[in-house]
């Protein structure tokens, strides 16, 4: 068994992304964090996904996760949970840069977006440096 295969099995067993482990179908909402300053994926960054609850006018936490070595975070939400509404993804950017011994102009980045058609797939990347970031709706 190769080292890579062992790592894959380990992430299945020890993953805190229980959604993927149990259902096996990919999340309709994905992200990808890229550290554009260093030209590497933004790995080990804490991410939270929230959905806006109109009745209470508050954000309810759906998932907490951490980006993997490739800067991705599988299993953000299931197809069943993914209803129309307003969502927010929060990226703990300052904590990420602090873990590398650097400061960041942005303590965190929150991206708030509409989901009108939950039948589609939505890819929300974050391209990040210490003093800039960008995001877009990708595929």
């Amino acid at each position: 068994m190769s080292v890579n295969r062992l790592h894959q099995l380990k992430s299945h067993i020890l993953s805190d992304n229980k959604i993927t482990a149990m259902t096996g179908s990919p999340s309709p909402l994905t992200t990808h964090v890229l550290n554009t300053a260093m030209g590497v994926p933004g790995s080990n960054m804490a991410i939270n996904l929230y959905q806006h609850d109109h009745s209470t006018n508050a954000w309810s936490l759906i998932t907490t996760g951490t980006t993997n070595d490739d800067g991705r975070c599988p299993g953000l939400i299931t197809k069943q949970q993914f209803t129309s509404g307003v969502y927010k993804m929060r990226f703990d950017t300052a904590q990420y840069w602090a873990s590398m011994g650097e400061t960041c102009f942005y303590p965190y980045v929150e991206i708030v977006f509409f989901i009108n058609d939950p039948g589609q797939n939505y890819h929300i990347p974050l391209l990040l440096s210490r003093f800039s970031y960008s995001t877009y709706r990708g595929s």
């Binding site: 307003v86 300052a94 400061t103 960041c104 102009f105 942005y106 303590p107 965190y108 980045v109 929150e110 991206i111 708030v112 977006f113 509409f114 391209l127 003093f131 800039s132 970031y133 960008s134 995001t135 877009y136 709706r137």
Partner: protein, 169 residues
Amino acid sequence: MTFDPNSVCHACWVKCLSSGRVQSGYNWLHKFWDLNELAAAERHRWTEWIMTAAESSPLTTHVLNTGDGVPAARMALSLHRLDSSMMIWNMLSVGTTNGDGRCSGLISRAAFTPGMYKLRFETGSYWESLGQNCFYPYVEVVFNINDPEQRFHLPLLMSRFSYSTYRGS
């Protein structure tokens, strides 16, 4: 641009020059009064007021509509500072971008203390006013100010399905 003795007194003219805002200062002065009629004392008072108003905010922004390749004019925005003891955001100013996508007077030097700030851009309303929808109902850029002596320029380049921001100069 030479000194016009019929405009303002020499002292006020020198003040405008030294502020580095000659063009706007001079235009503002001419816009605000018929200089032959106002008494000298009033001219001095107006100059003081204009100089205070024209003193630029240490924090500026510039919103660009990259989808259409134009400045994002008439976009509502607001500046907030985090009250770290109460963990709530205090709104400091509200404004609307001008025809060039800029919004002057966000904060005064005196009020610009170290802390965590948030610039909120009403992107959803902006695109709605253009008859289009936008993926982002609003954009909030949260940033740390450790050294308020510096100037901070936070542009927002945005389209209906993307945006970016950076710390500029």
